[in-house]
Amino acid sequence: MTKPKIATTSLAGCFGCHMSILDIDDRILKLVELIEFNKSPVNDIKKFTERCLVGLIEGGCCNEENVHVLQDFRKNCDVLISLGDCAIMGGIPAMRNSVPLKECFEEAYLNGVTVFNPAGKIPSDKELPLLLDRVYPCSEIVKMDYHMPGCPPSADTIWETLVALLNNKPLDLPYELVKYD
């Protein structure tokens, strides 16, 4: 029997949620017995090679590339899970939503105190994906099946969630894992 496939990605996030995946420590050995990673920074596979059961999405969408990756995940995964608060509601990157986009560019490339930019131009290289007008939570771009809150969700939360999903059991997280104050 082939193992179910899991894909992960970090969009407009800080990779903290992926660190939390690694924080499951030695259980990662158990995990690779249960599943196989497809496209993911964990194994550095860049493109989907097979259809996946689960896609874990860290971060919201701040640029056009994020949107593409997320839509690609939706096409290739049966179940999409927002992993952490940025994916769920934009999180810290979304703080820029209250600042006009032009000012964001100017602060980052022209006016910031640590900026060294003798050309005095905002970069326009085609390799740089264009920013969206604001940072979007994933659920505004594609249908998300589940949301796993936390900044980041703890390793235990991620572990319990995956195990429950793989065993087709209802998820019953203890209070300590989902309380955040």
Partner: protein, 605 residues
């Protein structure tokens, strides 16, 4: 200029005894003298009355009619609620914009005119309507808008237009308004001939406790819409500890589609004042305050005159009707354009010279209300009914109406009907009966209870209008064939988004989210899940908001979802590929494209 301003402000504050509780009057006066309340003016007011500047600022920035920026000499406030838009407010707006060369929300460069939108100004029976400074103009056409614009440009006002006065007391020299009463059906309660003092005579012949017993026996319930038993409210206020007590009259009718208090204030103010005086006697209050919505400013001189007549007749003042120690007087507190102030604790805040924020309950106003003293807040119509009950007896009143809702009620009917206006009918009248009276048998829906009320489908037209079935403070809006009910719900959500005081998150944020999701559905970008989301969110706003505004603001969406589900179902589509139809990459990168100066390489692929 500054010294001059300081002198003016000192004089104004002096007029109100430098009392910070009269902040509303102070800033209103300053605004009327200098066109706005500048930061300088705020600082001076704060210094004179002895509060922090931010307290003055919080009042100025809260109310729609107050402003830090200097407004034009003529401020045109065009009502843009759903009813006025049904009858061409948008075309009138276009005309004004074209004539003055500015957009709504702007002031002309020469400082002559400011154009603003305003929600319901209580003229839904004669739409579209606008306030030009304090003057009301009704049944506006594009022609009329052009004439008004011409007059403003040539004479700096519309006095020379000699607009015709309305009927009844609208033609009274102290009112002088274009407003029409549209009083279509009188019962024999409020608009009957009334002899000043006749109710009060009967009241003072009894003890205050007996008066309250009478009101309780009449089964009178609050006419503002919530329906709290009036006698009980008075009893609680009377029984509460406090050296002083207050009677407050809620004349802030701001619920879209409500204008019955306007007609009472025009045609039967004496009856209302009498009811307040009866309440003062029953409760043991010496002061009454009428909180009059800013939009009804045109009635103040007339109302002040009516008060003076009562003082001259010994019906207000000291030892009223010779009763030793029965002292009572009434003042009018003007509002300044805030729907939330119709909520009784927000109304109290506003009377105290604060932002119109609702207060926490308990303590209820009956225990701790105006200035921290026991206070009974009742509706204009409730006071009128109370006076009639004292005049004619509790049984006379109790036998009218329906089982749980005694008496007659004023309904203000507007929208798609042949005879919009005010109807005095017994509680228990069915929607169908009412529609027959107003000439709207072909209605596709009826909005009962205003923006926060219920959208009633034809299958429920047999239902009775009363507290137990379809409650209303008076507003009945008829929606005729061809109208879009989702647009109706949307306009109400726009209204609530604007009028939320912003204090609690469910109301401030929730209403905006609900409105946006509704827009998504109306745009045809919605999915079936969005309808579930709207139901969930609506119920969350309802159950977690702090005051009546948020507890009812989701009603237009929730009741149209419940009663007109097929309209929504027809607009939403399941997403086959799991992508959100409401998201457009092209739109989302458009701004970047223009700033960076190149096209996206993705969405053109």
């Amino acid at each position: 200029m500054n010294e001059n301003l300081e002198a003016v402000i000192k004089e104004i504050c002096q007029k109100y005894a430098n009392d910070s509780a009269r902040m509303m009057d102070i800033v209103r006066d300053v605004q009327s003298v200098s066109g706005g309340v500048s930061k300088d003016a705020m600082r001076m007011i704060a210094a004179v009355v002895g509060v922090a500047q931010v307290e003055v600022e919080s009042v100025v920035t809260f109310y729609a009619h107050l402003s830090e920026q200097k407004k034009g000499k003529v401020v045109i406030r065009l009502c843009n609620d759903f009813i006025d838009r049904m009858f061409g407010a948008d075309r009138v707006a276009e005309t004004f914009e074209k004539e003055f060369g500015i957009q709504f929300g702007e002031t002309s460069a020469d400082g002559l005119v400011t154009l603003e939108y305003t929600p319901c100004i209580g003229m839904c029976d004669q739409p579209p309507a606008a306030l030009i400074n304090d003057k009301v103009v009704t049944w506006l056409s594009t022609d009329m808008a052009s004439r008004i614009a011409k007059a403003v440009k040539e004479d700096g006002g519309i006095d020379k237009l000699n607009l015709p006065n309305g009927d009844g007391n609208n033609a009274h020299p102290l009112v002088n308004a274009m407003v029409h009463n549209n009083l279509r059906e009188k019962g024999n309660l409020i608009f009957e001939e009334f002899v000043s003092g006749s109710a009060l005579k009967n009241a003072v012949a009894e003890t205050p406790v007996e008066v309250i017993k009478n009101i309780k026996a009449s089964r009178l319930r609050g006419r503002g819409g919530a329906g709290f038993p009036t006698g009980m409210k008075w009893e609680f206020t009377r029984g509460a500890d406090g050296d002083e007590k207050y009677v407050l009259c809620n004349a802030d009718e701001g619920e879209p589609g409500t204008f019955k208090d306007r007609v009472i204030l025009t045609e039967a103010p004496d009856l209302m004042f009498e009811g307040m005086t009866v309440a003062g006697y029953a409760i043991g209050a010496k002061t009454g305050v009428v909180y009059l919505r800013g939009e009804y400013q045109y009635l103040t001189a007339f109302l002040e005159d009516a008060l003076q007549k009562r003082r001259d007749a010994g019906l207000l003042g000291k030892n009223i009707l010779g009763k030793d120690g029965f002292d009572f007087d009434i003042r009018i507190q003007m509002g300044a354009g805030a729907y939330i102030c119709g909520e009784e604790t927000a109304l109290i805040s506003s009377c105290e010279g604060l932002r119109g924020d609702p207060k926490n309950r308990p303590p209820f106003p009956a225990q701790k209300g105006y200035l921290g003293k026991p206070t009974s807040v009742n509706n204009v119509e409730t006071f009128c009914a109370a006076a009639k009950i004292m005049e004619k007896g509790a049984p006379w009143f109790a036998q009218k109406g329906s089982q749980g809702s005694a008496g007659l009620k004023l309904f203000s009917v507007s929208g798609d009907c042949k005879k919009p206006g005010v109807y005095e009918l017994p509680f228990g009248t069915t929607v169908k009966e009412l529609l027959a009276k107003v000439g709207a048998e072909d209605a596709i829906a009826v909005q009962v209870g205003g923006a926060c009320g219920v959208t009633v489908p034809p299958s429920d037209f047999e239902k009775e209008i009363c507290y137990d079935h379809l409650a209303t403070g008076g507003s009945v809006i008829v929606i005729g064939p061809g109208r879009n009910l989702l647009e109706l719900a949307h306009s109400f959500m726009e209204f609530f988004e604007e009028e939320s005081c912003g204090y609690c998150t469910p109301c401030r944020v929730g209403n905006t989210l609900l409105k946006r999701r509704l827009e998504r559905v109306i745009d045809g970008k919605g999915m079936p899940e969005d309808l579930e989301y709207m139901e969930q969110l609506g119920n969350t706003i309802k159950s977690t908001s702090r005051c009546g505004l948020g507890q009812t603001s989701a009603n237009p969406v929730l009741t149209t979802l419940a009663n007109f589900r097929s309209l929504y179902d027809g607009l939403v589509k399941k997403s086959e590929d799991g992508l959100q139809p409401s998201f457009s990459l092209e739109k989302a990168v458009g701004l970047s494209e223009s700033i960076i100066g190149r096209k996206s390489i993705h969405h053109h692929e």
